[in-house]
């Protein structure tokens, strides 16, 4: 009604209520989001995960291709601080491998005589070389046990590879495929959805049919079918790219549909009308006015879609349809847990599951927090 027009409050002091009232949309979102403790905690966890992944080669003691045939299926090595009551700092005992004479089960026992201190910022063994961010060659690793001591924080797998290293290196795939896939999805979904929504007419009809066709495919089987077609000789990097393309190929229609309908509804709103009448060109209209008007929605939606992409990648790799060993991802690592006896005898191999679980949960909670924050009515 415009009865009372709001003006800058000349008497305004720094009261909570004022901030609450006058903050911009984004500021308001940030404020609300910060109040969502679970979402904040999740964001923190995710930041740590991603940092760990980025510095993965440095943090992981072993590279993807390194292994030690003498320590197959070795349980996690305990890190000690005290030897016979004396503090010596972090160290592990040396390890001996014995086989049970009847069952031939390997037993890795600590050699209490031999103390291997843990050194930090050391040059790794040959084979541990890496290029940080694919650019800077290095073999610097966060920690290593002295005197040939073995330190397997999460134990080893059936090839004698350090599971801790593989979990961290695997996160480079498992955490980045979903994000890259999601970005691709956003680009595709936004482009196609806004085309359909903005122009309407036959373009809209064609795109709608296309969306309907792609949406008719059950997600997981389609992923499976497409991944199965990836040639086996491909390098991990290429497989990675293909996987992201496959994942996004299947998930763009959902976003495109939403973008399209948002476009149609936003198109009718006054401020777009005004911009259009004032002669703003179409592209400017889309990028300056229309997309920002539902950007928050897209961010929320995309955050919420990452968990299913993480699960998708993990599942495909688990089924042997995605990445293959020695390239590693959490799904590849979980391949070994397909057996009951693995869980019975080597339960530490389930550790990667915790990471899948945590990251999915964290993205879910973060998405929830974002959604609550973006929703002005809550």
């Amino acid at each position: 009604m415009g009865l009372f027009k709001s003006k800058n409050n000349t008497h305004s002091d720094e009261k909570k209520s004022d901030k609450y009232y006058y903050a911009s949309q984004w500021g308001l979102m940030a404020r609300k989001f910060r109040k969502h403790k679970l979402a904040m905690g999740s964001t923190f966890v995710l930041v740590i995960f991603y940092l760990t992944a980025i510095f993965g080669n440095f943090i992981a003691p072993q590279g993807t291709e390194q292994y030690d045939g003498k320590f197959v299926n070795c349980k996690p090595t305990p890190v000690h601080y005290f030897h016979e009551g004396k503090f010596v700092g972090p160290f592990v005992y040396g390890m001996k491998t014995e086989r049970d004479p009847v069952t031939f089960m390997a037993q890795h026992v600590e050699d209490r005589e031999k103390i291997c201190r843990i050194k930090f910022f050391t040059q790794g063994d040959p084979g541990g070389e890496y290029k940080w961010l694919g650019l800077f060659p290095s073999n610097l690793h966060l920690f290593e046990a002295e005197d040939g001591g073995k330190i397997f924080l999460f134990g080893t797998d059936n090839m004698g590879r350090d599971l801790f290293s593989r979990v961290i290196l695997g996160s480079q795939i498992s955490l980045f495929i979903p994000v890259v896939g999601m970005l691709l999805t956003v680009v595709l979904g936004l482009a196609i959805g806004s085309l359909a929504g903005y122009f309407g007419g036959w373009i809209d009809t064609v795109i709608q049919r296309l969306i309907e066709v792609v949406r008719s495919f059950p997600q997981v089987p389609l992923w499976m079918a497409l991944s199965a077609a990836i040639p086996k000789t491909m390098k991990p990097a290429q497989v990675f790219m293909l996987m992201t393309i496959i994942l996004s190929l299947v998930s763009w229609p959902g976003l495109a549909r939403v973008v399209r309908s948002k476009f149609i509804s936003v198109k009718k709103e006054d401020f777009i009308m005004a911009a259009r009448i004032s002669g703003a060109p179409g592209s400017k209209l889309i990028t300056r006015h229309m997309i920002p008007s539902f950007l928050s929605y897209i961010i929320v939606d995309m955050t919420m879609s990452i968990p299913s992409l993480i699960i998708g990648e993990t599942t495909l790799s688990f089924l042997g349809l995605g990445l293959r060993s020695p390239a590693t991802s959490w799904g590849v690592l979980l391949q070994e847990t397909n057996k009951l006896e693995t869980i019975m005898f080597y339960n530490w191999k389930l550790i990667p599951m915790i990471f899948v679980f945590l990251s999915v949960l964290a993205f879910n909670f973060m998405g929830d927090g974002l959604r609550d924050a973006a929703d002005p009515y809550k």
Partner: protein
């Protein structure tokens, strides 16, 4: 309504056609045409295959023709003869394979779906009505966890738990004892016992999603103005909830039955592989690994068709349940 259905059906036919095109494209994706395989098999069967025979076969399957002609040869055989092609890994017509596995797959899917809805709707309502109560927090947490664990891991974990508790891993649909026994109450019980894990695993994800949707739908409805009107009328809060809110909140959920079934249908794929269920999922997986693309493609095709039909059912259901949607559909 009839006009609406006819229109939908026409669009559906077009979609199915486009889907089949996409499926055929996927079938032809793997390197080496299926002729290589076929000749391999023929040789294996002790046949001496000469170039003439290969050429003849290529003509039958139109492999020497451009993509669209090949596609048409494949598509017309499906439409006219119900012939989905030949499974090389199983040495039998794809139709026979599908026939053998569709029953258990459907049975499992439908059981799971009933379970899903039976749990999700009441729990969703409870959670919404008792928002921020202990129960609400409990269910919400369980839902979050349920959605965070990939199906296959859930299956493995439950299998392990079952083994620890009962000494059996509960794989397959029957215990060895009842596998070939005639039907009896014990056998039914055994079947039900074996269904627990698959139904839980397949259903959990979907159930969690549905609970969350139901809860937020219900919360939406509870905050609608007509609730106020109802109160002003002097209606009991519970009566408003059930007559107005639940009915309104259930609408979108109930109409999702169509694609929910498809969701479950496909959810069985992964679970079946892990739990060794006699479902198409296992067959599809093996077909994919062997690049037996006619089988895999047919399965993909069927699932896509099921999705289309499911969406159609959903649309019709929604139109039937919601007078507003009905009007809109009738309009255009």
């Amino acid at each position: 309504m009839t006009k609406f259905i006819i229109k939908k059906l026409l669009i559906m036919t077009l979609t199915v056609f486009l889907i089949s095109l996409a499926v055929f494209f996927i079938i032809t994706l793997p390197p080496g045409d299926f002729m290589t395989n076929y000749v391999g098999r023929m040789l294996a069967a002790g046949e001496r295959v000469n170039q003439e025979e290969i050429d003849a076969l290529r003509r039958t399957y139109a492999l020497d023709q451009p993509f669209f002609v090949q596609f048409w040869s494949w598509f017309s055989r499906i439409i006219l003869k119900g012939d989905f092609g030949y499974s090389f890994s199983l040495s039998m017509p794809v139709t026979a394979v599908i026939k053998a596995y569709i029953g258990p797959t459907m049975a499992l899917s439908i059981t799971t779906m009933i379970f899903t809805y039976l749990i999700a709707i009441p729990v969703g309502i409870y959670s919404a009505v008792h928002q921020y109560s202990f129960g609400d927090y409990l269910f919400t947490t369980v839902c979050f966890l349920g959605q965070a664990v990939p199906n296959f891991l859930m299956a493995i974990l439950l299998m392990f738990i079952a083994f620890r508790m009962t000494g059996d891993t509960m794989l397959g649909l029957f215990s060895p004892k009842y596998q070939n026994a005639p039907w009896s109450w014990e056998k039914v019980l055994d079947l039900l016992k074996h269904c627990i894990i698959p139904v839980l695993v397949i259903g959990l994800n979907n159930t969690c999603g549905l609970i969350r949707t139901m809860r937020s739908q219900m919360l939406d409805e509870l905050n609608k103005n007509y609730v106020m009107t109802g109160k002003a009328k002097g209606m009991k809060a519970a009566a408003i909830r059930y007559k107005y809110c639940v009915r309104a909140a259930v609408n979108p959920i109930a109409s999702s039955i169509g694609w929910s079934l498809v969701n479950i249908f496909t959810g069985t794929t992964i679970t079946a592989i892990v739990l060794n269920l006699p479902s198409m999922g296992t067959v599809m997986y093996n077909a994919l690994i062997n690049q037996d693309m006619y089988l895999a493609g047919s399965w993909l095709f069927l699932m896509a068709i099921a999705t289309v039909i499911g969406t159609f059912i959903s649309d019709v259901l929604l139109a039937w349940l919601d007078p507003r949607a009905r009007k809109e559909y009738l309009k255009g």
